[in-house]
Every structure is written in structure tokens, then in C-alpha cells.
Symmetry: C2
Subunit: 202 residues, 2 copies
């Protein structure tokens, strides 16, 4: 089948992209607003962009024409934290994706525990085994007539890794990490069916 994005509905384009670009890593992003209120939300248009310098990117859309709390908070304070999503926190992560009113913190609603970060104001998620403390390096705005998406560029300033998942102190063990990837629609994938392939020499 052939699809021309311009001839599709926004939802049709979205379904096709999230169904084909898989599996996606999930960033559970914590932010605070200028008043110190915390927010927590998952995003899967997320990835590392560069390791030197250490930059990651989280794409945050608009909702009914307004920028989402994560984007607004990151812009207001210049800081956010990316918490890695594993099997044991998939249910609370999904819970945090619900459309809560601004006065509700997703930490409480999802039953996740905020713990202080070292170098930035937004808290980390205690139940996640990896936290990236980030300073906002810039926002790449995307959209045609109007801006519909902000790609938040996060400069990683500190990384916390649970000792249990990094036995040699250098390489995270994927078997211990048990990360969960985002697929299309309501689907997720575990990362238990691992296999190894060496990059060949020429």
C-alpha cells in the first residue's frame, strides 16, 4: 500500500508512524513549574541524539492547540529529568499518561515516589533504575502554519544508575534492566528476546 501523508488524516498519519517506527524507548519525564508543582508524563518520540556532547531529545506535542505541561515546565525552568521505563513500572507509567487536570501531580496518581535530583530541581522517579538529569539546551519547533511540536534538547548533566543493573560499572546489563519499548496503538514490547550481532570488519 502507498500512503501520501498530505492526503491522510492527522490520526491516520500518527497510526502509521507509531506502528512502523518501533520499538521506541520510553522517557518518563519529570518537570516542575515555576511554583514548584511536579509533573510526570511518558513520551516515546524520544531518543539519544549525541553522546559527545551528551544530548537527548524528547518530542512533545501540543494538545488542543496548547503546549503540554512538560514542554511549558521545561521551558520555564530550563530543566527536566528523563526516567527510564522498565517492566516493573509500566503500569504506573501508563497511569501517568492519563489526562489529569493541572492541579493533580502524576506522581501521586501513579503511585510513584519523587526523590530529589542532585543538580536540577525536578525530582527523579525512585522506582526507575536510570535517571538522566538534563538542562534544556534548546527547543526545535516543528509545524507548518503553526508550531505543533517542540523537540526538547536535553543536555545530560548527571546520570544515576542502579548498581544492580550495571555489574561491571560500565555497561548496563539488558537482562537485568528489563526495559519496555513502545509499539503502535496500545502495544508495548518487553526486551527479553535478546540476540547479539558483532559489527563486521570489512
Amino acid at each position: 500500500m502507498i500512503f501520501d501523508p498530505d492526503d491522510m488524516t492527522p490520526q491516520g498519519r500518527y497510526f502509521l508512524m507509531i506502528g512502523a517506527i518501533v520499538p521506541r524507548p520510553i522517557a518518563l519525564v519529570s518537570t516542575i513549574n515555576a511554583d514548584g508543582k511536579t509533573n510526570l508524563a511518558p513520551f516515546s518520540f524520544f531518543n539519544g541524539l549525541s553522546s559527545t556532547p551528551p544530548i537527548l531529545g524528547v518530542s512533545v506535542g501540543t494538545k488542543r492547540g496548547k503546549i503540554k505541561d512538560t514542554w511549558r515546565n521545561a521551558e520555564e525552568t530550563g530543566e527536566f529529568v528523563v526516567n527510564v521505563v522498565t517492566e516493573s513500572i509500566t503500569d504506573p507509567m501508563v497511569q501517568a499518561s492519563a489526562d489529569y487536570p493541572p492541579e493533580v501531580s502524576e506522581f501521586g496518581a501513579a503511585g510513584l515516589t519523587p526523590i530529589p535530583s542532585d543538580l536540577v530541581a525536578p525530582p527523579r522517579v525512585k522506582e526507575s533504575p536510570v535517571h538522566f538529569e538534563c538542562r534544556l539546551e534548546g527547543i526545535v519547533e516543528l509545524g507548518d502554519e503553526e508550531v505543533t511540536t517542540g523537540l526538547l534538547l536535553g543536555r545530560i548533566v548527571r546520570i544515576h544508575v542502579d548498581d544492580e543493573i550495571i555489574p561491571d560499572g560500565t555497561h548496563i546489563d539488558p537482562v537485568r534492566l528489563k526495559a519496555v519499548g513502545r509499539m503502535g496503538r496500545h502495544w508495548y514490547s518487553r526486551t527479553r528476546e535478546l540476540f547479539e550481532k558483532e559489527r563486521p570488519e570489512v
Copy 2:
């Protein structure tokens, strides 16, 4: 354990990011240069960025201070194709990642078949079930003293989907797609251990 990126080696930062930000979707990117020579290379700092407008991002680093062929070709011609990587083409995809000299096309070396695209000049990979034909919308350059990474922003102009994997014509079936995700080091993950979670109502 706590890691400060500024105190780490480039390789140490890289290992930590690719081990923690998982599973990553894989873009097998085809390009041509100004002389019409084809290139094919896999990237996993890759994701959708926005569905309205339809934009994806592929992060391409430098190699020994020089920009890689994919970046140079995309910049020269303004076009590239993202081919989705599935179990059946994992071996050729890994083969295409080897460090071939410029005169070798990775299509031949990997045993993959180039077929013409409809709207852009770089060919598609016949053996892949999804192709995104893209026009280069811009390049976000990252780096401190010097540019070390280019995030290629691709405007999707046409999408080809194998009929077999999209039974209802709208949603790609993840069980039929059999996508493969990139993990840390030499690790990959299949996407067979799927589970479903509905986004909750508040």
C-alpha cells in the same frame, strides 16, 4: 552509581546512553551522492518527531572528524529513504554497518536489493516492509567547540507498506512486522513479547 558526563570518556558516555536508552528503532537509511552512487547505513538514534507535520529524525555522527556519507549525501541531494528493519533483514543490516570504502555500495555488500522510489532519488530496500521517502527539512547541528552530530530532519512525502503487515489498511500489525530494536553494545531485541495497556481515563 553516579556518572557526570563531563568526567567520562566519549566511549563511556556512549556505552551508558546506548545501554540505558533502549529499545531503539533502527533506520536503515538509503541515500545517493551527486554522482548517483548509492549508500546504505543503519542508525538507531532515530525516531519519529511529529506526525503533523510528518517529520522523522535521524542522528548522524562524524567519523574521525568527517561527516558520514549518509549526512553528506542527504545534504547534497536533499533526500533520503528510511527503511524499517525486521528480523529477516537483521543480518544484511548489520553487514551494511561495516566500514566500507566509499567506492563500495552497501547494497551489494549486504545483499539487499535497491528498487526505485516514487518521489525521491535514493532507492528503497526491497526486502524491507516499510519505506519512508523523505525530503530533508533541515539539519540540527550539535556539538560544543565543533559540530559532531547532525540530526537530519526528514519530511515524509510517501510511505510504502507491505500489504501483508497492514491487514486492516490502517494499523500495522506488530506480530507480522517483526521489528528489531537496538540495545546496548552488540545486543538487539526482537519485539515478540508484546502486551497491551490501554491509556486510562481519569
